[in-house]
Amino acid sequence: MKLIELKNVTKTFDDGRKKIEALKETNFAVEEGEFVAVIGPSGSGKSTFLTIIGGLQTPTEGKVFINDEKFSELNEKKRAKKRFDEIGFILQASNLIPFLTVKDQLRLVNKINRSSFDKNDAQSLLDELKINDLSDKYPSDLSGGERQRAAIARALYHDPSVILADEPTASLDTNRAFEVVEILGRETKKKKKATIMVTHDERLTDYCDTVYVMKDGVLNKK
């Protein structure tokens, strides 16, 4: 089942003097349980690609489907709601909230959902990511690797169908980076997510099912 699908998507920035084609016409899909890597040089359009899928910007042309729904056609409010329900973001620098403990980062999701916090759910997720004993710590007290694992926990916690990771390993050393990517791959399979990871580091793609290369706004399978 296709959880992410892009049909004829383009993105053009027009600053009045010249047009930048950040993303040329793209057709693309990610299946349930598929872990996709996107590599490519700086400025090639990777982040643009990812944020269009995440609904943070709209495509100039074409359509984005998330879970078979015309995601890119929704208005901003509905897109935000859908993003909250269906998409987990993992960013380069940690996207954790500095004044919440690891456990409270998860609990926030329940507060917004108006659902009750399931302690066991949270525990087992943190267990899987080997950060269970850190659940009462604030992000500033965690190491970079621990922080990214907490961010993965946060992204997985509300059970989205799609995980979008923009250079999640940029702030980590090689060993930690491999560890984080491995966890990401494992969770994608186990929880049947569709995951896209943007990275500079080609070695990290070993854990991925499909690798795409972005170059000057053109996406090709490697």
Binding site: T51, K81, F84, D85, I97, R107, K111, Y138
Partner: protein, 365 residues
């Protein structure tokens, strides 16, 4: 509220400082209000006590009761449901046993000459009513602040007469001075400073009460007199309006300043958090949720700060010496609390606007 509260818990010092400022400013506001109210009351309690509709003064007195004098027979020309003649004169009293050179023991007072069968005659809190000439009913503040007792004998400045306190009443201050109530004959004697007992008795005012609270009901049978609403009379007491306006302005500005401080603090905090709020929005957390948490936080801070300030004020009010004209007024305190919170929330809405404008795309790239 979850976010708001967790953030306060995390940045304790920062928020303690903000609350501290709110506490101090609201303490100042409440305390000034208490003082202003107390002082205003000291001008007028004896008048409010009458529950009168209006007051009749001599036409040429220009609303100044000290300049109003007319023969007491003119009372007969005034037709109203209730009338009461009133003589007013200020004086200085001193316990007879004190030395005349001791200025500290002298007290400024106002004498009210009244008739026992008329409605402005005071209720007795302690002691008994006037039976004979040269007996007075005194304001209780003379007991509380000066230590005067029942049966104390007071000498008057400039006149060779003494009066005896036979009773105390409360809420009897006129123009910041305690009132001594006497009967009309004693009043006439004091007013004339003992010089030549005059045939015609002079009074200062006629206080009137009507059934429907309207002055139109009152008929004045003479051009020598003029009638005024009691509120108009009070606001024309010497210095009264200036006092009330000065304090009112000060308090108003302080409320604004307090609210602006809270608003600015919250705004700066919000600006500092722009990137993290952007990330939250990227995760799909709605501006509405974040905005609610900003407003909730403002509410928590202001409520906590203002109530603490109010508590401090009440405690101060208790330990304050009696001489300070401080008085609690629940209505003022409640409305100032509400006003402070409302204006602070208005400040918070600037922050909410910033939250709405944050572009999640910028925050994450």
């Amino acid at each position: 509220m979850f976010l708001a509260w967790k953030e306060i818990k995390y940045s304790k010092t920062r928020f303690a400082l903000i609350i501290g400022v709110v506490v101090l400013v609201s303490y100042l506001v409440f305390f000034l209000t208490g003082l202003a109210y107390g002082l205003a009351q000291e001008n007028r309690t004896s008048i409010d006590k009458w529950e009168a509709t209006g007051i009749v003064l001599a036409d040429e007195s220009n609303l100044n009761i000290n300049m109003s004098m007319f023969p007491k027979e003119l009372v007969d020309d005034v037709e109203a449901s209730e009338t009461a003649s009133l003589g007013v004169t200020s004086s200085v009293v001193q316990l007879v046993e004190e030395s005349e050179d001791d200025d500290d023991s002298k007290v400024n007072v106002t004498f009210f000459g009244v008739n026992e069968d008329e409605f402005i005659f005071p209720d007795i809190l302690e002691g008994e009513s006037i039976q004979n000439e040269n007996e007075v009913i005194a304001d209780i503040s003379l007991k509380e602040e000066e230590g005067y007792e029942l049966n104390d004998e007071l000498s008057l400045a400039g006149i060779d007469t003494t009066v005896t306190i036979v009773g105390f009443t409360d809420n009897a201050k006129f123009n910041v001075a305690p009132v001594l109530y006497t009967d009309q004959p004693t009043y006439q004697h004091i007013r004339a400073s003992g010089f030549g007992e005059r045939e015609d008795e002079i009074i200062s005012a006629i206080v009137v009460q009507t059934d429907n609270g309207e002055l139109s009901e009152v008929a004045l049978g003479t051009d020598d007199l003029e009638i005024y609403e009691i509120d108009e009379f009070i606001s024309n007491l010497p210095g009264y309006n200036a006092q009330v306006l000065t304090f009112g302005l000060m308090i108003g500005f302080l409320v604004l300043i307090a609210a602006m401080i809270v608003g600015i603090f919250i705004y700066v905090l919000t600006l500092q958090k722009t990137s993290i709020l952007g990330v939250m929005k990227a995760q799909g957390i709605s501006s509405k949720y974040i905005g609610k948490s900003v407003v909730g936080q403002t509410l928590l801070l202001t409520l906590f700060g203002v109530l603490t300030g109010l508590g401090l004020t009440l405690v101060t009010g208790i330990v304050l010496p009696n001489e300070v004209p401080y008085m609690n007024n629940i209505l003022f305190f409640v409305s100032i609390t509400t006003l402070l919170i409302i204006v602070a929330l208005m400040g918070a809405f600037f922050s909410v606007r910033t939250v709405v404008k944050i572009d999640p795309l910028e925050a994450i790239s």
